[in-house]
């Protein structure tokens, strides 16, 4: 299990400005406050901005990531914790350091399958906090 200190150090090492947007209907709800507090701790040693975006229709909390106008294709629904918090940091790293994403997880056959898809695909990954 990666510690918050290790994740904070990884966030501090990010290159380029990044923003984490926390969307909820009410900033004062306890789960929203807890999410923002946790993310601000994560961002404490970096230039990462945490921004609350009010949306009356939003149930729960949604976290999205952006580097200027480049928005991550990943959104986190619910406060990420444990392994999923590490996933959020990893998503930030991939967004700010695109070359990081190009390692051996994808063989040439996978690149060939997924390059030039005829239409976009949105999928939902359901996870349990670990």
């Amino acid at each position: 299990m990666i510690s918050l200190e290790e994740l904070t150090a990884r966030v501090a090492a990010l290159s380029g400005p990044a923003t984490i947007r926390v969307t909820s209907s009410d900033r004062q709800q306890s789960d929203v406050l807890a999410t923002i507090d946790m993310l601000e701790m994560l961002a404490a040693e970096s230039s990462l901005r945490i921004v609350h975006c009010p949306d009356e229709a939003m149930v729960g909390v949604r976290v999205t990531l952006a580097v200027e106008s480049n928005v991550s294709p990943i959104s986190f629904w619910g406060t990420p914790s444990g392994y999923e918090l590490e996933g959020l940091v990893y998503a930030l790293e991939c967004l700010t350091q695109p070359n990081r994403a190009t390692d051996s997880i994808e063989g040439p056959h996978i690149v060939a399958i997924l390059n030039d898809l005829p239409r976009p695909v949105c999928a939902d990954l359901f996870v349990t906090p670990t």
């Binding site: 294709p73 959104s75 629904w77 619910g78 406060t79 991939c94 996978i110 997924l114 695909v121 996870v127």
Partner: protein, 70 residues
């Protein structure tokens, strides 16, 4: 699975993923038929439960993006 979908979507901009915490969205998870995690739901396909290999994930995504031949 989380790292895999993050990486694969970063390399292929037509792919978008929502990572949903089932304890915070239990109704959503229930309506999707989730009984174990991780579970991946792609429109038009049955729920994929368990960790998928990169090849399996790529195939299911390609299937979702490719119109059926007439």
């Amino acid at each position: 699975m989380v790292h895999l979908v993050i990486k694969i979507s970063q390399n292929h901009p037509q792919l978008h993923f929502r990572i949903i915490q089932v304890d915070q969205f239990p109704t959503w998870a229930q309506s999707a038929g989730v009984v174990s995690t991780p579970s991946l739901l792609i429109a038009g396909q049955p729920l994929h439960a368990g960790n998928l290999s990169p090849t399996q994930l790529a195939f299911y995504l390609w299937l979702a993006a490719t119109p059926p031949s007439s």
